[in-house]
Structure formats: structure tokens, C-alpha cells
């Protein structure tokens, strides 16, 4: 028998593991099954626990932290309802490949399966939305499981990992052995990329007449910002980005075509349609990008670089797959390429598309429009702020008009399209990034989906500007209703049922301002940008009936792109 002194409490092992993983912040919410952990947390000084007001908020905050920093976000919640409240956030992180580790309390092992108080089979529930999940059944496996959880979350294609901790496991003792190495024989991400495939890609690109780089979030995750910039500039290659890819290449760069896809620029989509070589870098041919796959870049030779083999040939069959880390492969391709392709004519063509159909919006009638606000924000922050958008029209306008210049400055829910992401994610990001302004942008609908986290923002005095783009509608749904659903504005009008957002902000202890006057936009933005060390809220009351253009209808081909509205009707 070992003497108890040699043994360590489960809760201490837990925090010691987090310390070794260099965890700085936990986003969490206590409850019965994790009381022991909170008891020990009380005396932990090497990390900070951020108390949210809803477990969904904890997960989005962890995502915001992870996306902004590249480090894993960590969540701690109780069993049952605490665990089920994390589900949306976990699904979101899964879709957007965000490295987070979610620790859920669980009822004591002997009660599992008994419908015990606050029992939920969170392992079963999260199986299809996690990269992997673990139920720790023996205290001896606690340390190695935590090690594996972080390793799996952060390597290869990143993603969420859930670790379920039965109460009795945490309450027991064992000798602490920290596994230096992780041993998972079925999990070995391939980073290198096949040499011959890379050579072939370089040859194809060198010979291209109309090449195009189609860049996704993978480039940002791999840290390939510099490599991409060098490769594109050396070879004068046009670069278009997905929603998650924005920031992987400077939006102000002359080689940037902006975003492609459903609400992408006219010229980016034309370039996709007409290119002869399409190089997909860390992107996954999502349906919001491709529209109708049969008509997507039909004539192009397609090269697909991705760390996740399942992404290849899933939606679009490609000619040359390269599985590996995109940063590494970009560097290799750059050194392999023998000569730059001659892209002079191609650029002339692209520029003519730009002239043919530039991004424009109505700015003469004196009414406040989102595009204008975003343009001003982009100018004032020089594209250097961290912008955290929610889901809807404001998200697309921000993607179109904000010129992201750096990776990890564009945080948004892309794959799952989770309304309610922005407010908590911005709070999480503020703990990761201290040298850039954090700006949350939400619609009036989505803002209310995690509105409770405003108190987290003010309690921790996070320096976040919360912008509400209030069009008094669930705008993006309204847009689809007008375009595709016989103008039946069914349950999307919030004009009579929105709260007073300034009062809301103030009730949460946040300095808040509102305007519907374009002339006041700059001064309000200046005022907010001058606020330091605490949150501030700005409500912009914008035109109700505006729609986001260009738009490729869902499942349509790029040739069906609508570039502007035919008969705008003014709504009051």
C-alpha cells in the first residue's frame, strides 16, 4: 500500500495537468458534479477562471480565445444541463475546426445509466460533433486522458474534444504520473505532403494562364500567412478567400479579390468560374462557396491542399490532392516553382470584372447603412482590430467591406452559422489579444441570443466594443423571404418587440450609445475606440429593407448571381 501522502487528489491532478498544458484561462460555470474541482480551483493561482452566465457562452468564449490566439480554449461545466448547454458551441467548434477542450462533470460512475439527478449522456450526445471524446472511468487514466485531449484538439485538423469526468473519479486519489509522450496509434496527422504531388502542383501553376488561389481558414490555422503572401506575390497570383479565410491574406493587397461564394464579390466569383487552375488551400468546397457543384470551376484543373483527407473529393472531385500542412506545402511549392505564370491578360480580365460590377451601396439618401459603418470601422482601425461577427446580413457586409489585414483578426461562425456567437466569442478573444481592439458586431436578433454575457463583459471589464446593427428584422431571413418566399415576412419583424438596447447596455453596467444618423457614425466610433479597459456598446439603427448583394442563390450556379435589387421598396 502506498502512503496517502504519495497520492494526489483527482482535482489536483486535473489542475496540474492544465498547468502543464499551459492553460491560462478556463471559461466555466459551476454545479454539483464539479464542486470538488471548484473547491480546488479556489486556491489555484496559475490560471484564471472566467465565470460566464450560460454554458453556451463559455464554449463560444473559449472558441473566441482559441481562434484569436491559436491556443486551445478550455471550458469547465457541470453534468446534465450544464453539459447539454455546451452542445451548440461544441457543434460550432467542430464545423469551424476550433481547438477547444470541454470538461463536463458527470454523475458518479455507479449511477451512470440510472437516470440519476443531472445525468445526461454527453458522450453519446457529442459523439458526432466532437473530434473525439472521453469518459474517464478510472482516476489512473485522468492525466493521460487530459494530455490526449489537448493533443487531439490541437493537432492535425483542430477540433473540439470533450472529457467527461464522473464525480467519484475526481473525488478519488492516485499517484500522479504525467505522460510526456502521447501514444495514440490510430491518430497520426500527416503534415509533410507528398513531394511529387507538390512538384506536380508547382509545374501546373507555372504553366497556368488563369490561375487562382482559393484560400480557407486552414491557412490561418497552419500559420501560413507569410508563406501565402510570398507565394502569391512572387507569382502574381490572384487570391480569393472564404468567409473563414478572410485575414489569411491582406484585404488591402492588390492581389486580393476579396471573398468568393454566395455573397462574394462579382470578380472573385467570375474568376472562379473562368480560371484554368484552381488551387484550394485549406478550404473545403463548402456549398456556400460552390453553389451548384456541377457548375463550379468546371474548366479548371483543381489542386486541393488540406490536412484532412476526408475533405478531399468530398464535395468536388479534384485533379491533384495534397494532404498535409498548408504552410509547409506553400513553402515547398514556392521553392519548386520554376517560373512565374504569365498572368498579365488574366489580371486585365479580372480588373475589367471589377469595373463592370464593383461593390457599391446607396449612400446618397442620407439614411444609415451597415456598409458605411463597416467601411468607416475598417478605415479607423486600419484593418488591425479583431472583428467578431455574428450571423446574418451584418456578417456578410462585414466580410465584404472590412479589409482584414492579419490572420486571426476575423472571428465568425461560418460552418454552423450560430447566432449568438459574437458577444461571448469577443469576450473570450479579449483575454487572448491585448494589443488590438476587439470589436463584436451583431444583428439585433443574434445579439439577444447570448445577451446575458454582457454582464461577464462588464464584470471583467473587458475592452470590447459591442456593435449592434439594428435593422429591426431578422435581416438575412427577411432577405430570403423577400427573394424566395413570396415576401411573406413571417416572424422576422422585430420592430415592435426589440428591447431598448441602450437601456439594456446600461443595465449591464456598460456605457451605451445609439444613433440612426450617418453623420454621427464617425464620432461615435471615435468615442468607442477611445474607451480603454472596459466595454462599450453602440447601437446603429440602420435601414430595414436593405439586402446583401451580390448573391448567388442557394444551390445556384455563379451565372445566376444577382448583383443588385431590382425594385427596392422602402419599409418604415
Amino acid at each position: 500500500m502506498k502512503t496517502p501522502e504519495k497520492l494526489m487528489a483527482g482535482a489536483d491532478i486535473f489542475f496540474e495537468c492544465l498547468r502543464r498544458e499551459k492553460v491560462e484561462y478556463i471559461f466555466g460555470y459551476p454545479g454539483g458534479a464539479v464542486l470538488k474541482l471548484y473547491e480546488h480551483l479556489y486556491d489555484v493561482d496559475f490560471l484564471k477562471h472566467i465565470l460566464v452566465r450560460h454554458e453556451q457562452g463559455a464554449v463560444h468564449a473559449a472558441e473566441g480565445y482559441a481562434k484569436a490566439s491559436g491556443k486551445p480554449g478550455v471550458v469547465l461545466v457541470t453534468s446534465g444541463p450544464g453539459a447539454t448547454n455546451t452542445v451548440t458551441g461544441i457543434a460550432d467548434a467542430y464545423m469551424d475546426s476550433v481547438p477547444i477542450v470541454v470538461f463536463t462533470g458527470q454523475v458518479p460512475s455507479h449511477l451512470i445509466g440510472n437516470d440519476a439527478f443531472q445525468e445526461a449522456d454527453i458522450i453519446g450526445i457529442t459523439r458526432p460533433i466532437t473530434k473525439h471524446n472521453f469518459l474517464v472511468r478510472d482516476i489512473k487514466e485522468l492525466a493521460s486522458t487530459i494530455r490526449k485531449a489537448f493533443y487531439i484538439a490541437c493537432t492535425g485538423r483542430p477540433g473540439p474534444v470533450v472529457v467527461d469526468l464522473p464525480k467519484d473519479v475526481i473525488n478519488s486519489y492516485c499517484e500522479f504520473v504525467y505522460p510526456e509522450d502521447v501514444e495514440i496509434r490510430g491518430y497520426k496527422p500527416n503534415y509533410k505532403g507528398h513531394v511529387n504531388q507538390i512538384k506536380k502542383a508547382a509545374e501546373v501553376i507555372a504553366a497556368a494562364k488563369k490561375p487562382l488561389l482559393y484560400v480557407g481558414g486552414g491557412v490561418i490555422m497552419s500559420g501560413g500567412f507569410r508563406e501565402l503572401s510570398l507565394f502569391a506575390h512572387e507569382n502574381k497570383l490572384p487570391v480569393t478567400m472564404t468567409l473563414q479565410g478572410l485575414g489569411a491574406f491582406p484585404g488591402t493587397d492588390e492581389l486580393s479579390l476579396g471573398m468568393l461564394g454566395m455573397h462574394g464579390t462579382y470578380w472573385a466569383n467570375q474568376a472562379v468560374n473562368n480560371c484554368d487552375v484552381l488551387v484550394s488551400l485549406g478550404a473545403r468546397f463548402d456549398d456556400r462557396v460552390t453553389g451548384k457543384v456541377e457548375t463550379f470551376a468546371t474548366n479548371a484543373y483543381k489542386i486541393h491542399v488540406d490536412i484532412d483527407p476526408t475533405c478531399i473529393d468530398k464535395n468536388v472531385v479534384v485533379d491533384l490532392p495534397i494532404v498535409g500542412d498548408v504552410k509547409h506545402i506553400l513553402a515547398e511549392m514556392a521553392s519548386e516553382i520554376s517560373k512565374s505564370p504569365d498572368t498579365g491578360e488574366w489580371w486585365a480580365q479580372i480588373n475589367s470584372w471589377k469595373d463592370e460590377c464593383p461593390l457599391v451601396y446607396e449612400d446618397k439618401d442620407g439614411r444609415l447603412r451597415t456598409e458605411y459603418i463597416i467601411e468607416k470601422l475598417s478605415e479607423k482601425t486600419k484593418g488591425e482590430a479583431v472583428i467578431v461577427t455574428d450571423v446574418g446580413q451584418h456578417q456578410m457586409w462585414t466580410a465584404q467591406y472590412f479589409k482584414y489585414n492579419y490572420p486571426r483578426t476575423n472571428l465568425t461562425s461560418g460552418g454552423l452559422g450560430t447566432m449568438g456567437f459574437s458577444v461571448p466569442a469577443a469576450i473570450g478573444a479579449s483575454f487572448a489579444v491585448k494589443d488590438k481592439q476587439i470589436i463584436s458586431i451583431s444583428g439585433d436578433g443574434g445579439f439577444q441570443m447570448n445577451i446575458q454575457e454582457l454582464i461577464t463583459a462588464s464584470a471583467y471589464s473587458v475592452p470590447v466594443i459591442f456593435i449592434i446593427i439594428n435593422n429591426s428584422f431578422l435581416g438575412m431571413v427577411r432577405q430570403w423571404q423577400e427573394l424566395f418566399h413570396a415576401e411573406k415576412f413571417s416572424f422576422t419583424d422585430l420592430s415592435k418587440s426589440n428591447p431598448d438596447f441602450v437601456k439594456v447596455g446600461e443595465a449591464f453596467g456598460i456605457e451605451s450609445y445609439s444613433t440612426d444618423n450617418p453623420k454621427e457614425v464617425e464620432s461615435l466610433l471615435d468615442k468607442a475606440l477611445a474607451v480603454k479597459n472596459k466595454p462599450v456598446l453602440l447601437e446603429f439603427k440602420v435601414v430595414k429593407e436593405d439586402m446583401v448583394f451580390p448573391m448567388v442563390p442557394s444551390g445556384g450556379s455563379i451565372s445566376e448571381m444577382m448583383v443588385k435589387r431590382l425594385n427596392p421598396k422602402r419599409m418604415t
Partner: protein, 169 residues
């Protein structure tokens, strides 16, 4: 097209569920699935029969590989391999049909494993089409109950080697 896929998985809690969840979540078909031990105690082999065109099978294999608990995935349909299935078939019997049933059982090299005045239970092993044939022949006697294991399969000659445990960091 039908494919028989052999999957070596860690014998972990939930490993089977992960595979099943992946199939249902991605909308892939499972025609049969069998799980059992292998020569290594902490590794199980799942034999899955699925169908789909080349692109679907390519995805099935990749998605299986993506699961953390998966050690090795082989599409046996691309190799020489042996497939076997076992069936227990309980058929109705009356005095006059006993001999005939015994004959059928012999032809299929089955075993009679249970018998009552009214029924006979036959055990048949073999490739799935042999079992299908037996079922067809037995159907007129009235099949009361049937249980089939689903296919187990192994590559001929050189076996699918399990990687030695090694460290990754």
C-alpha cells in the same frame, strides 16, 4: 457496389458507437456489421459491408480512418479475401419433412443444433451467397426464425498487420 471493409479499432469504450454514429451521421449504408476480438487483446476487428459508388466508398474509408480509435482500414473488396457468415435457421417440420430437411442440411454442410416435434434449427456457415441459397431452399418449409451474424472476413495470404505501438508527440 457492395464493399466489405475491415476495420481494426482500439477496444475502447464507445469505439463501436463511434463507427455506427459516423455511418448514420454521414448517411452511409450498413448492410451488415460484425465485431469481435483479434489476436491482440486490446484490438477489435469490425467487418462492415456497405455499398455505394467509388466516391462514397472513398469517403467511407477516409471517414473511418479519421476516427481516433481506428487503427487500420482496409477495403477488402480490392483484395483476395475470405468471407464467412454463420446463420441459425429455425424451420417448421412435420413427420414427413424431416428426411428432406436433413438432406438439405447435409448438402449445405450444416448442423442440426436443435429439434422439436414441430421444428428444426439448422446452423450453416459459409460465404453469404451460400447462406442465401440455403435460405431460399428452406423457405418453403416455413422459416420460423433466423439469425445471421453478418460477414467476417480476412485477407488471404499475408494478413493485415497491426502496427506496433509507437510514440507520437
Amino acid at each position: 457496389m457492395k464493399h466489405t471493409i475491415s476495420v481494426l479499432v482500439e477496444n475502447h469504450f464507445g469505439a463501436f458507437d463511434r463507427v455506427a454514429t459516423m455511418f448514420s451521421g454521414k448517411g452511409f449504408n450498413i448492410k451488415s456489421i460484425s465485431v469481435g476480438e483479434t489476436e491482440i487483446s486490446e484490438v477489435s476487428r469490425m467487418t462492415i459491408v456497405t455499398d455505394g459508388d467509388d466516391q462514397i466508398i472513398d469517403q467511407v474509408v477516409k471517414q473511418l480512418n479519421r476516427l481516433v480509435d481506428t487503427i487500420k482500414v482496409v477495403d477488402l473488396s480490392e483484395t483476395y479475401h475470405v468471407e464467412r457468415e454463420l446463420a441459425l435457421i429455425s424451420v417448421g417440420m412435420h413427420k414427413g419433412s424431416m428426411e428432406e430437411l436433413k438432406n438439405i442440411c447435409d448438402i449445405f454442410r450444416g448442423n442440426i443444433v436443435d429439434i422439436t416435434i414441430k421444428s428444426m434449427m439448422i446452423e450453416i456457415t459459409g460465404p453469404p451467397d451460400k447462406i442465401d441459397a440455403a435460405v431460399n431452399v428452406l423457405a418453403p418449409f416455413g422459416i420460423k426464425e433466423m439469425a445471421r451474424t453478418g460477414i467476417v472476413a480476412l485477407r488471404r495470404g499475408e494478413q493485415v498487420k497491426i502496427q506496433k505501438k509507437e510514440n507520437v508527440t
